[in-house]
């Protein structure tokens, strides 16, 4: 018995949806049929691997589609139409797979819906896998996906969409990956890599570079028991130099085209961190310059906060605190950033208090535990 090549299944998914679409199936029905074919493939392939996986998927998905169409008496008209199997229509201006990216990240969808639909239709994951990854019941995820499909049912499939929303969805998949047996970060990279091959937009390359550079540090980011290891304390010998080299190459090619965007700027900051052999060798002056660019591009208060920390490294903690004074104290991680800068400025008493305050405001268990430990560490230094 052989393992099912799930990676292959996922790669084939958008193309199979495209084939059904060209044969006249609408997106919602085609996507449902392909999902059923995927589930059947996961069941059948271990014992009986097909010689032509794509052909197998198209055949089974098409049969599922016809079954569903036949079963629905109210759709008799359409059944007649699909039974005739019309020849493919006139050539499409845009690749099918690229169209799927646009459709699944359509601006009318909420981010959670767009993420789920993208993972299913473009990523070829099963509803169960997506539900496990996002820690919700399978029925909930199934509903989210079918509602999303209803939302985009009137969207024409042959128009170019908004690349910015596609990038945001992929960024979310990468950044908010949880658990389950699917590696969402790797999945996001795979989907972004494919998108980069389909488009000629420097920001797509920028996002891909950003993901690769962060992924390269993954092994060093957590310690025993899932505890968070801050960048400065990470064992840099465990960084994946292959991924870093790839990320830097992709970034440099993108930057050379002189159409800067927020993902390229973020990737540039990640590249500067990756470039330092030790934390103390980090080129903070250049990092601050990139934060200035990023702030100009986004105006984001979170960027302003991160910039203040970088200023603290480049020009000393007092300068960092001055930069932080321009940031709203209500921002997540404000207390943590201020605690860090105060500790470096030698105000341990206040730093310990702020670390404890930050731990109470933390949004994740590893972050909460890390900040509690920081508070304890500084308190320990205060004790005689």
């Amino acid at each position: 018995m052989s393992m099912v090549d799930e990676a292959l299944l996922r790669t084939l998914t958008p193309a199979v949806i495209g084939v059904l679409g060209r044969r006249g199936a609408d997106f919602a029905a085609a996507e449902d049929a392909v999902q059923e074919a995927l589930v059947e493939a996961l069941r059948a392939w271990p014992d009986d691997p097909p010689r032509d996986p794509k052909g197998w998927l198209v055949t089974v998905a098409w049969r599922k589609f016809l079954d569903a169409a036949r079963a629905d008496a109210s759709r008799r008209d359409r059944e007649m139409r699909v039974e005739e199997e019309p020849p493919p229509g006139p050539g499409r201006a845009v690749d099918d797979t690229l169209q799927l990216y646009f459709l699944c990240a359509h601006p009318s969808l909420t981010p959670a819906s767009a993420v789920a639909l993208t993972l299913r239709a473009v990523g070829g994951l099963t509803t169960r896998q997506i539900a496990q990854a996002y820690l919700v019941p399978e029925a909930t995820m199934a509903q989210r996906i079918s509602r999303a499909k209803r939302t985009v049912s009137s969207v024409r499939f042959d128009q170019a969409g908004d690349l910015a929303t596609v990038l945001r969805v992929l960024y979310l998949v990468f950044n908010e990956g949880y658990g389950g047996d699917v590696d969402l970060a790797a999945e996001a990279i795979r989907l972004t890599r494919r998108l980069a091959a389909l488009t000629d937009e420097p920001e797509v390359a920028g996002l891909l570079a950003l993901m690769l550079l962060h992924h390269a540090r993954r092994a060093s980011r957590t310690g025993p028991g899932g505890r968070l290891v801050p960048l400065a304390e990470q064992d840099r010998s465990r960084w994946d130099t292959g991924l870093i080299a790839e990320g830097v190459t992709i970034l440099q090619a993108a930057l050379a085209r002189d159409r800067l965007g927020e993902y390229q700027a973020q990737a540039a900051i990640a590249a500067l961190h990756a470039d330092a052999q030790a934390a103390c060798e980090t080129d903070w002056v250049q990092i601050v310059e990139w934060y200035d660019e990023l702030l100009r591009l986004t105006g984001s208060p979170v960027v302003r906060l991160n910039r203040a920390v970088a200023v603290g490294e480049a020009d000393g903690p007092r300068a960092g605190l001055a930069a932080l004074a321009e940031v709203s104290p209500g921002l997540p991680r404000y207390a943590a950033a201020r605690a860090y800068l105060l500790e470096r400025a030698g105000d341990l008493e206040q730093a310990a208090e702020l670390y404890a305050e930050a731990s109470r405001a933390a949004a994740s268990v590893p972050e909460r535990d890390h900040l509690t430990r920081e508070a304890a560490r500084v308190r320990q230094m205060l004790r005689p």
Binding site: G226, R227, R360, V365, R368, D369, A376, R377, R379, Q380
Partner: protein, 135 residues
């Protein structure tokens, strides 16, 4: 099998024996505590008794309906005196005694000085679906 909720409070429960706030422990004591909690959950998973465990942020707000067309009334963040839940674990065990036993073990998590916290945990049975055979 029956499910029980083991409830941990930030405030509102009787004071634990080893009552030193966590940010006054040493970093090593904190790590030992976290490790204990993880090992405990892993052991229950291995024995087939673990259902769920979640930690809650201390920030919370009471909300209630305030009539048609009006925004809901909110009360919070909680005043210091209010009971506050820190998190929970749900276990699926054979007997009530087993649930008590597990809560007792969890309450022995190490705190300041590496000594057990002896904190109070609340054990609450989850109401179930009605059984098929009732006569």
């Amino acid at each position: 099998m029956a499910k029980y909720l083991l409830l941990k409070h930030y405030r509102g429960a009787p004071a634990p024996v080893n009552d030193v706030p966590m940010d006054q422990w040493t970093p090593e004591e904190i790590s030992a505590h976290m490790q204990f909690m993880q090992d405990f959950a892993a052991r229950l998973e291995a024995s087939g008794e673990f259902v769920d465990g979640q930690a809650l942020s201390p920030e919370g707000t009471f909300v209630r309906y305030d009539g048609e067309g009006r925004p809901p009334v909110t009360d919070g963040p909680f005043a210091e005196t209010k009971d506050l839940i820190a998190g929970w674990m749900i276990v699926d065990v054979d007997t009530y005694e087993r649930a008590l036993e597990l809560a007792g073990e969890l309450s022995a998590a190490p705190g300041a000085g590496g000594k057990p916290i002896h904190e109070w945990l609340e054990v609450r049975p989850l109401l179930t679906a009605p059984p098929t055979i009732t006569e």
